[in-house]
Assembly symmetry: C2
Homo-oligomer: 192 residues x 2
Amino acid sequence: MSVQERKQRERVERERLIVATARELAEQQGWDAVTTRRLAERIEYSQPVLYSHFRGKREIIGAVALEGAAEMAAALRAAASAADGPRTRVAALARTYLEFAARNPAVYDAMFELDGGLAFANDDTPQPLKDAFAALLESLGEVAGDGVHPGLFTEVFWAALHGLATLTRAGRLPPEDTEPRVELLVDRLAVV
Amino acid sequence: MSVQERKQRERVERERLIVATARELAEQQGWDAVTTRRLAERIEYSQPVLYSHFRGKREIIGAVALEGAAEMAAALRAAASAADGPRTRVAALARTYLEFAARNPAVYDAMFELDGGLAFANDDTPQPLKDAFAALLESLGEVAGDGVHPGLFTEVFWAALHGLATLTRAGRLPPEDTEPRVELLVDRLAVV
DNA sequence: CTCGCTTGTCTAGCGGTGCTAGGGTCGAGC
DNA sequence: GCTCGACCCTAGCACCGCTAGACAAGCGAG
């Protein structure tokens, strides 16, 4: 038994290594540089080993996305609980979201820009994704305003943040004015 | 002279054919299916011909993006001028934007999701892109509210629309509630 | 009208991609 | 100590974007 257990542990460990290495490589050189050959070389195994853990490159991206979603949810909750008052909380939430996207561009891409083969807005959406949305909902629900469905409000607010994040990072929006954009967004959307 | 002129005309015509075919193929089967080989086959020339018109695949995407930007600007202006009253106009603008993205997903991807090698928010940003932004600005500027810079307001509103467009199309947001989302966005952001 | 040359196109191929079939090795369990 | 199965690697497939070099067509000069 103990032998199989050890092998199992090693497998789990190697899978973590694959995901961590993919993330690191993507963060250093962009997802285009994450090829199965390079990834295999970095983990010091041959290519087919990757396919004994994941169905394909897409699933590796998906794994990075799930890891990122968990981290983002934690970051959002931490920011929200450190602020008091709805207005302050929502502003902190927004800033944290944009900062996460800016500091972890490859992870953000894995979550929202690339195809990680994950289900969304769906019953079999993976838990970390639902949880990240829930983290947004917790703080945003209280500023939705009367008669506005909290879920709907969260979707709209989230979409605005997502738009700001992606357009800024792609060079479509000049990055200097991020702060006034956040101020405007919070002032107008949130009902305090 | 006339011979050269004819050749020049044929070149221009062929270039249009390339862009139109790329767009059509992308719209039918997605940008992944737009390979230089398939594209060459569809226009009934060999691959290297593409490279006598464009520096590479990226530039072809860029050409589709510019075409799309011009169309989008026209659509936005048409919608805006057909509506009277700032509130109605902004709502129509938003709906038109989202509809354009939904009906021309490949073009929208070329404009905002893929790398077409175009400059943005920059002095040497191509005219069609500046003009599309200008089309938004024309209607949105009048509802920015006192003391809010119209350009900044337009950026934020645009980002929200972009977020809704991409998240919806990627399956991150259920498509049914698009209309109430637009209503909420316009009600809160626009100062009428 | 013929010839040389420019211009334009095609065939073939390079180095890369994601992914997989099949052989070989090594160690666990009898 | 031997057998057998689990595991991993080498090698290769079909495809990608892109390009070098051969080749043909058609123009302008004589």
